[in-house]
Symmetry: none
Subunit: 207 residues, 4 copies
DNA sequence: CATGAATGAGGCTTCATTCAT
DNA sequence: GATGAATGAAGCCTCATTCAT
């Protein structure tokens, strides 16, 4: 019986994931308000009613997609960051390149991020989303600032650098460069990131 | 009669502006989809139908707000930039402070910007909005990069600096810092901007 | 003063007629429900509000157009009929040709007739219109049947002919032939009327 | 599963028909523009939204009613005509009586026909309806004219009769007699048709 | 568990009519 | 008298959600 339950749970979990993936695609394509629940069902190859067996509402599903997406992205980022080697500047460069390089993956879901932002700007879920964003940005800022502090301790960066501020700005820069790439195909965010980080690293350096 | 016509036209133009302002407030508060046309009418203190005497549709009104907003912001920015004096680094600092300082004004309309982004992420108006954003970013990038090139020519910045890339990144950074401030009250974007620009200017400097 | 009043009345009467004519054109073009009062004003080259100085409502105007049209058509028909000369068969033929021949004039207002019919099929004015139609048809039937009775008395038609029935049918035939011509350009109602009347006259004749 | 599908399809088809019938009643009662979609739903005993599960729009439903009605009427007429026996004159008399006799059935849907005419006189569907009318009239004309040609061949009618013209006129006469009966209760279309056909048949006869 | 038929609240938009100028 | 700006009732349609099968 426990095994049975487990099987059933596995089944549900897998199905839930299928719906999640389908929903992510449709939301990214059409936006939250532009998306019709029936479309998600069609995309997932199931009946309309089935979605409500797994999620309470369209909004609930939307937020589940959001959380799933954030968790996924966060996990990937943490893994790639923890794998970084070398000096602080080298690690920052590697991080930047990793972020900018994942563009091809990110571009498909950037529309989704825009939707999350949008949802955070309106509707009652505003607070819910804002908090999640706050958290996500904060986590990332923390990682980068600890990396910078590490550099300061190792005497790779100037001691009077405000790690928190620089981290916040850098995170923002990367985000905004991806944004510019998103709505402007001709914009090369990789070069911009590389050149800019060069300047920043020089500014951080002891000399 | 020409005078009469002029009067009428003035009247209509002014009324259109009043509706625009009311719409901007409501759209900022509730988002495009969260906004009900009746709310805009109430906010403007007029009847529902009157809006349709001045705008073809809710979407039309929304885009009109957008264009009006972009035009306004763009004009203000250009004026404040043209007024900048001093060396290139000084001008960049002044620009940064000016942007970050206008936060109190901007914060009220940032929600509106989010809405425009949102609208650009979905629906058929996507292209319309994306292009406007592209243009806006591109304009601003151009201003900042010419400022940097100016600095290079004046030997205030290193000659091997990629003005375009740095400009794109800086513009993005400011944008993203405002964004972080927008959804995180405890985040001090002014300090972050100041500290970060310090680093960047040091990185740009000849030494 | 009486002269003054007369002038004013003349002015009003003429203006009313201008509105009537404009309304007839627009109603014929777009139908009652498809017509927007503003269009009539534009067509008449006046302001929207002015119409309500001369007519109580859109429906009132519509009915006024109808009555004006019926009066006009009726008057014309009576005149042309009273001018008919010759034997009863000859007068029927002349009448038929006159009716069918006025097609080029009628075709432009047939849409209007359709609208009147339509209005009679729906809305509260149903009864109003139905009665007018009844009256119009009845008048015309009366004219034709008296013409036929005249023929019977003159021994040009068989004595056992039911004048009323034949008149009703003939009137209907002409009406329906014009209708067919109206929605089928390739249909030649003149030939059909002529050939058919030939048969009918032969059927009415003593031999 | 195929059986299941068939069941579902049957169910939908039947439901669609129920809506069609309800819509026909309401449209006949109130006209196209006078009809509110909610009324149809009430008449059909279903919810407003359900109608849109089966028809794309009010106009679509209206045209579906029209087609259904035309198909039904056409089918009935063809059947009754093919069942006619006897000489050509006898068959024409039988046809006339059959048409005039079905008045009690027709009267309830004549309002509907008026609505179709109305719809054909306005809006973009004009062409759609006009063509259907053209077709219907043309079909009927064809049937009657072949009946007449048959009579000519059998030497029951004069050889110089223009079958097409007479057919067109006869069809029109019947139509118009029903029309007169529709808006004038006191008008006896049966007698008029009988008496008139007498005259026409006499006119068609060899003597 | 899965489904899709049914629903009705709610939103955008139209337009006849009014009325201040 | 003439005008057109203003209005709000009313209608079509969408779509998230429910629920019987």
């Amino acid at each position: 019986m426990p095994e049975n339950l487990t099987h059933r749970e596995d089944y549900r979990k897998e199905k839930k994931l299928r719906i999640l993936e389908a929903a992510a695609r449709v939301f990214a394509r059409r936006g939250f308000f532009g998306t019709v629940v029936a479309d998600i069902a069609t995309e997932a190859g199931i009946g309309k009613g089935t979605i409500y067996e797994y999620f309470d509402s369209k909004e609930d599903l939307f937020f589940a997609v959001f959380e799933w997406f954030v968790r996924q992205t966060g996990a990937k980022t943490k893994i790639s960051i923890s794998a970084l080697k070398g000096s602080a500047p080298q690690r920052l460069e590697a991080l930047s390149e990793s972020l900018m390089g994942s563009w091809d993956e990110i571009r498909d879901i950037f529309s989704l991020v825009m939707e999350f932002w949008s949802a955070s700007a309106s509707s009652e879920t505003r607070e819910r989303f804002q908090q999640a964003f706050r958290q996500g940005y904060s986590d990332f800022r923390g990682i980068v600032s600890s990396l910078i502090r590490d550099g300061i301790e190792r005497r790779e960066f100037r001691p009077d650098v405000e790690a928190e501020s620089v981290a916040a700005a850098l995170v923002g820069t990367w985000d905004a460069l991806l944004l510019q790439a998103w709505f402007d195909d001709s914009f090369d965010h990789r070069i911009a990131a590389k050149e800019f980080l060069d300047v920043v690293l020089r500014g951080l350096s002891l000399q």
